[in-house]
């Protein structure tokens, strides 16, 4: 499938999920991956990975700043941020990438059957590896009012 079509579906899905479920308006800056990485590298990120199979196979990597995961999880749980645990944050990040992926495939072709695996958190040395693979696949940098996040799609 054409990268431009995939990228367009990724953007639309990100918008729909973050705006509909989290009331977070997003923009897609016209910036290079390296510039995005330089901007984000000083911050701590939580990264979720979701593999899939279907008419084509691959995986998503979803990069979300730690401070943003706290507010998103608090909103989901209906609790103050001080009561949000790391597990809540991780569950929220995994849920978001799950929704973005499923919604994206529906946007692409709702007659095609994709099987999504259970999302997992990328941790330890794999975190740096996720950043170092920035030129791999299709990367969509996302800007919110006060955060930068990103979604990578790698087709195997």
């Amino acid at each position: 499938m054409e990268p431009e079509i995939l990228e367009s579906a990724m953007k639309r899905s990100i918008s729909e999920v973050l705006e509909k479920m989290f009331f977070v308006p997003v923009d897609f800056p016209n910036t290079s991956e390296q510039h995005w990485a330089d901007l984000c590298r000083p911050r701590k990120f939580m990264i979720a990975k979701l593999a899939f199979k279907g008419p084509f196979a691959g995986h998503f990597l979803f990069f979300l700043p730690e401070e943003m995961t706290s507010s998103l999880a608090a909103g989901f749980l209906g609790q103050d941020e001080q009561h949000v645990t790391m597990e809540h944050r991780a569950d929220t990040v995994k849920e978001i990438v799950n929704m973005i992926a499923g919604n994206m495939f529906s946007i692409l072709d709702n007659h095609a059957l994709f099987n999504l695996e259970i999302p997992v958190m990328v941790e330890g040395s794999d975190t740096e590896a996720a950043f170092s693979g920035l030129n791999e696949g299709i990367f969509v940098p996302v800007q919110t009012v006060d955060s930068s996040l990103g979604l990578r799609l790698v087709v195997h």
Partner: protein, 141 residues
């Protein structure tokens, strides 16, 4: 009448969102029950009376479709309406839910209004036979 509702999802935040949304919709909820996957759900269903099950599809150990299958093969549990919440939008998958006996499905991302409308219709149309399916006509087979 107050309904007992079982929320099945491996994501605690998502269970919280579904509970909040159902509560905000004005349903007379007697009690919410939680389960992290289909196996846990069956344990709850075998020990507590439930009026409605709202389950995620993609879960470890036993997914929503497998839970549905177990429930429909049980003389008592098969009468309980099951709503599947899913990120998946393929017509084939949605058809599997409905043919498996789901009362309806809700696509993620969802709005509170979508959940409210679906559950209201399901609980309003439940006639005790377990035949509460209402979405077949919306699928493009």
């Amino acid at each position: 009448m107050a309904y007992n509702v079982l929320i099945v999802d491996d994501s605690l935040p998502m269970r919280a969102v579904v509970k909040k949304t159902i509560t905000a919709s004005g349903f007379m909820v007697g009690k919410f029950y939680d389960a992290g996957n289909g196996k846990e759900a069956l344990k709850v269903l075998n020990s507590e009376w439930m009026d409605l099950v709202v389950t995620d599809y993609n879960m470890p150990d036993m997914n929503g479709l497998e839970l549905l299958s177990h429930m429909k093969s049980d003389e008592i549990l098969k009468t309980i309406p099951v709503v599947v919440i899913t990120t998946e939008g393929s017509q084939q998958r949605l058809r599997e839910f409905m043919e498996g006996g789901a009362a309806d499905y809700i696509r993620k991302p969802f709005t509170p209004e979508e959940i409210r409308n679906k559950l209201s219709r399901i609980m309003g149309e439940t006639d005790g036979t377990g035949d509460t399916r209402i979405s077949d006509e919306t699928l493009d087979f």
